[in-house]
């Protein structure tokens, strides 16, 4: 009985250690910010898909691109490797997870708040699609509010903005332009 209890305790301790180590790796990975929107972490954006730690302490992080041509993937990878290295994980591998494709619905509540706090408009819910993608010949209708003055009187300037994930808007009340993170 004694032996069994000791083994069980040892196993429990090992499990606790593994959990703690994983949480350390997770915390480090979660602190890395997006190179193009540094007010958001990769976790807030939903780009950080998983963090695994092997028995030998090797970390494998999976990230997913927002858009296929996202030019910031290499920078994100380097930032993750560096931050994990400083946190004591010298052996870190960053994998790209293409599927499932990123959705703006994955941006966390904290991420949405950070966008708003920095004068950006957060994406609404992605419409659920069934059947073929419908063509839309009229400007996309979104219920938006100006992140500067809160007015709902806004107009779309362009569906394409300074980065692949943003559209351009203008507030017709305060006349300030602002960026809206697109639903995708």
């Amino acid at each position: 009985m004694t032996t069994t209890t000791a083994t069980a305790t040892a196993t429990a301790t090992a499990t606790d250690d593994a959990t703690r180590i994983r949480e350390r790796a997770l915390a480090a990975a979660r602190s890395v910010t997006d190179p193009e929107m540094p007010m958001l972490t990769l976790d807030d954006l939903g780009i950080l898909r998983s963090v695994e730690v092997s028995g030998s302490g090797a970390v494998t992080v999976a990230i997913t691109p927002t858009y296929t041509g996202c030019p910031a993937m290499a920078t994100m990878r380097d930032d993750l490797v560096r931050v994990l290295g400083v946190a004591g994980f010298a052996d870190a591998t960053i994998r790209v997870s293409l599927s499932p494709a990123w959705s703006s619905d994955w941006i966390t509540a904290r991420g949405r708040q950070a966008l708003t706090d920095h004068g950006l408009s957060a994406p609404g819910r992605v419409p659920v699609r069934s059947g073929p993608v419908a063509l839309s010949l009229m400007p996309t209708r979104r219920e938006l509010h100006c992140p500067q003055c809160g007015s709902g009187a806004v107009e779309l300037t362009s569906e394409f903005g300074p980065t692949a994930c943003k559209a351009l808007y203008r507030c017709t009340s305060c006349l300030e332009p602002f960026e809206h993170v697109k639903e995708i």
Binding site: Y67, T68, V83, L135, L137
Partner: protein, 336 residues
């Protein structure tokens, strides 16, 4: 990742270390009186890695499950990936020609964004082509650091490109560009809607992601088509002329190549003929709303039975490929 998971207290210390790393300036704030200071100091928030932003070679498929599906010829899969990649690559390169010279800033940005999306699709597909059939990749001098995707983009001759001829056509005026984009994005989105069911994990993932991007491209082109068609007499004249010029190249996008037939039969690719009707329905909507007649010009003929998918192209391709490749070809060792 779970949303907003609470972090245990004992992790605060490690979190603050990580925070410090992220926010630590790599050099002091700029001092205008310091001869060694630079106006660019501080612009990048002090993260040292950002100085190397986007400059390194990178395998776009790093970490993706690249297992080859069974029951498909590797050479066929490689060639099929090249076809889809070359469509995107050449369309992207053409759209990039608008950068800094579009009719207004918003459209300059829009066309560049669309080009970037297509370039991203091309990179994944070229890397997939190289993995499926390494013999497709042109040989480079020993020790060259040029990755396979770049070797395929920059070291093949025009006759080895497998894109449909529509995408290589000169940009012409803005109306020609819009018509090309409308016809191409409509066909590509329809093909991708079937390609999501591919047994090849990479093709399936590229398609699922690509659909989201192409939705914006097609809407953009459709809205401009409508605007130009119902705008002024001059804009209408131009959209009619553009349609007359581009539409003869439309049929080729739905002509089944032998490779496409085989990969479709193997459950890996899509026979483009099967999406022709669905695309026609979408375009009929655009034409009807725009008050434009369906184009009736005869398709551009194949040359001795060969079209873009066979490597038979118009003269426009050799010129755009020459411009796209000149720097890479001058420096095959990737150094200058």
């Amino acid at each position: 990742m779970p949303d907003e998971t609470a972090m245990p207290d004992e992790l605060d210390a490690i979190q603050s270390v990580a925070d410090d790393v992220v926010h630590q300036p790599s050099h002091p704030a700029p001092d205008p009186n310091d001869a060694h200071g630079s106006v660019y100091d501080g612009l990048l928030g002090g993260d040292p890695s950002h100085w190397a932003f986007g400059t390194d070679f990178e395998d776009p498929l790093a970490g993706v499950d690249t297992t080859m599906p069974e029951g498909v010829d590797a050479a066929d899969l490689g060639t099929y990936c090249l076809m889809l990649a070359d469509d995107a690559l050449i369309a992207s390169q053409r759209l990039s020609e608008w950068c800094s010279r579009a009719p207004d800033l918003e459209d300059d940005i829009a066309l560049s964004n669309i080009a970037l999306d297509l370039l991203g699709q091309a990179r994944l597909l070229l890397a997939r082509a190289a993995a499926a059939d390494p013999s497709l990749v042109p040989a480079l001098p020993e020790g060259s650091p040029v990755p396979a995707e770049d070797a395929l983009a920059f070291f093949r001759d025009a006759g080895e490109f497998r894109n449909v001829r529509l995408v290589e056509l000169d940009n012409g005026d803005f109306a020609v560009t819009i018509v090309k984009l409308l016809l191409h994005s409509s066909a590509r989105i329809a093909i991708f809607e079937q390609l999501v069911d591919s047994r090849d994990h990479v093709l399936s993932a590229v398609a699922a992601k690509g659909i989201k991007e192409l939705t914006y491209h097609r809407d953009y082109a459709g809205r401009w088509f409508l605007t130009l068609a119902r705008g002024t007499e001059e804009s209408r004249r131009r959209i009619d002329a553009a349609l007359g010029q581009v539409s003869p190249l439309q049929a080729e996008m739905f002509a089944t190549h032998a490779v496409e037939a085989r990969v479709a039969a193997a459950g890996v690719g899509v026979d483009p003929a099967t999406v022709a009707d669905a695309v026609a329905v979408v375009l009929a909507q655009v034409f009807a709303l725009s008050g434009v007649d369906q184009p009736t010009k005869a398709p551009l003929a194949a040359v001795q039975g060969r079209q873009g998918r066979d490597g038979m192209h118009t003269e426009a391709l050799s010129r755009i490929v020459g411009e796209m490749q000149v720097v890479a070809r001058a420096h095959p060792m990737g150094q200058w």
